[in-house]
Symmetry: C2
Subunit: 336 residues, 2 copies
């Protein structure tokens, strides 16, 4: 069962513009990624490349490259920083799969199913170490500061999510704090380091950070909606994964708050106690539809998307600026 | 059953001298550790402090402080680097417990038994992030380079161990490569950053690195012996843990190589296939005794201990140099 969320798609919702503008840089990033997963310990490139070459969009490293171009950066430190950002992201995915006991990732068996939890934990640690090595090679202490703070914040957000897990009383604000940490912080840091290595004024650095932070929040909220419908099959995720794992996401927060006592008992039974029957996912989606929880999660995502675009307004018109606006629209349009 | 390994203990085998010389600095390191495990997400300080305050000797951060003093360092960057080294070590322990499915750590229930694998993975990631933040604050790119390379090498060593797991055909050289990575590299990096932040000549940096590398190898080899006897009960480890987990350590490598066909079949059954009966640990210790595998592992450890002491010879006599020599003797004397 899938829900079609009504939402006007702008005709320019695409990452093609960004991909085109960054093609040359991304080729260098990909070569760097390939060489830095190399190790005589053959299990490391096997596990790392399983995930890295499994068809992610590489949105985060593209953001680093895009912001460096937007800031007229002329060096080549952005290549290693972008590769480092992708490694940080990949390390997070490897560790998340262990934490969530996931069986699938992007439609393929997760690394932990193929090589075990041990390899997922350790190869994640290896990639994190390699990410820091590349950042050190770039030599910007400020960029190192931003990305190392992000690493700690991401883990903090994940622990927060763990602590809030299965708690249907989670508020929207609490949930926002979780996704700012676990998802949006890396988007923000990936964007911020672009103008930082270009030595641009502080105002441009914070503007780029805002672009990333708000885009990251919007991205995660759309992801939350996709888990209850939309075209998620294409993404290699199973509809209902979050539900079965008892994850509290914004659609649940809204449906729970707006529901009556009987409905709240349903959510508590299914998500807190994990007693889930065959018809329960459909019932959950029904309740979300009744309370407009999915539509309103999309509305919230659009709000953050608008903030992201407004943060870009500081910069003069350019093909890169237009391409970034289209990426925001693309992230929102994924929901239908 | 425990084996007493005959080994002459020098009367000066103690860490008391080092502890005394570093008391003031260690107080600052401990305060830093405490403040940097702080988080509004209460599970983070809970998990981190469970392990950090559980009575480890803090040998690694003490080495950083000791080498900084030996190099006449006058700043205060060594405090944060020492705390960062301890965080890296703690993160490794948290992740190791998940990888090894350990139930005990230093005689207490491991973090994963108390808070789950999820928290162990994520709090480890948080500590790693905080470690890098502290290094960045110190501002030495060379120290950052050394410690970030160490982070990648440690993970690489652990994956190597995973790949070699249960393989009784592992050679002594292969085993040494594993422990250089998973254990000795952090000792080496912890020592090397002392003279690095003091801007001492390259020869002193490599000397300190050698002190740490060889001490780390000796330390791990003694640990391997303790797992088959000695006074390991005091360490909160169970005698035979490595055996039951099918870990190939140097005592096994030596006993296997020196054994006859029947004995090799025993090692393969127990360690590769994991078919272990009640009397098998005693039988394993008996075979090790027969082939002098434990004594010779201690001899190998003494060899690396001697290399560590000789690497110190570059430095003029001082109370700190003497204290470090006593630490090497202490690490060797743990075995009986």
């Amino acid at each position: 069962m899938a829900v079609i969320v009504p939402f006007e798609s702008p005709s320019n919702a695409s990452i093609d513009g960004l991909v085109g503008l960054l093609a040359a840089d991304m080729e260098r990033v990909n070569a760097t990624i390939l060489s830095r997963t190399g190790s005589e310990v053959t299990m490391i490139p096997e596990v790392a490349n399983h995930l890295i070459s499994s068809g992610g969009k590489r949105l985060r490293p593209m953001l680093t490259l895009a912001m460096a171009q937007l800031a007229d950066y002329s060096g080549d430190g952005h290549i290693k920083l972008a590769a480092a950002v992708e490694f940080m992201h990949t390390a997070t995915l490897l560790h998340d799969d262990v934490v969530d006991e996931s069986e699938l990732r992007r439609g393929k068996l997760s690394a932990r199913m193929l090589w075990g939890n041990e390899a997922s934990v350790l190869v994640g640690d290896f990639l994190l170490g390699q990410a820091f090595r590349m950042m050190v090679e770039v030599g910007s202490l400020r960029a190192l500061d931003i990305l190392s703070a992000a690493a700690a914040t991401i883990a903090e957000g994940e622990v927060m999510q763990l602590a809030a897990a299965k708690n249907t009383a989670t508020t929207e604000d609490e949930y926002l704090a979780v996704i700012r940490g676990k998802t949006a912080e890396l988007f923000a840091a990936a964007c911020e380091v672009g103008p930082v290595i270009a030595n641009r004024p502080k105002a441009e650095q914070t503007a780029c950070r805002s672009v990333g932070m708000n885009l990251g929040i919007a991205f995660q909220l759309v992801d939350d909606v996709l888990d209850y419908g939309g075209k998620s099959a294409k993404l290699g995720k199973n509809v209902g994964d979050d539900f079965r794992e008892g994850k509290i996401t914004l659609p649940v927060v809204l449906a729970f708050r707006r529901g009556n006592d009987t409905e709240r008992k349903f959510w508590i039974r299914a998500l807190e106690r994990g007693e889930i029957g065959a018809a329960d996912l459909d019932h959950a989606i029904g309740l979300m539809t009744k309370h407009r929880a999915l539509e309103d999660t999309i509305s919230r995502a659009q709000h953050y998307g608008a903030m992201s675009v407004d943060a870009l307004a500081l910069f003069p018109p350019s093909p890169m600026k237009t391409a970034l606006e289209e990426v925001v629209a693309f992230c929102l349009a994924r929901s239908h």
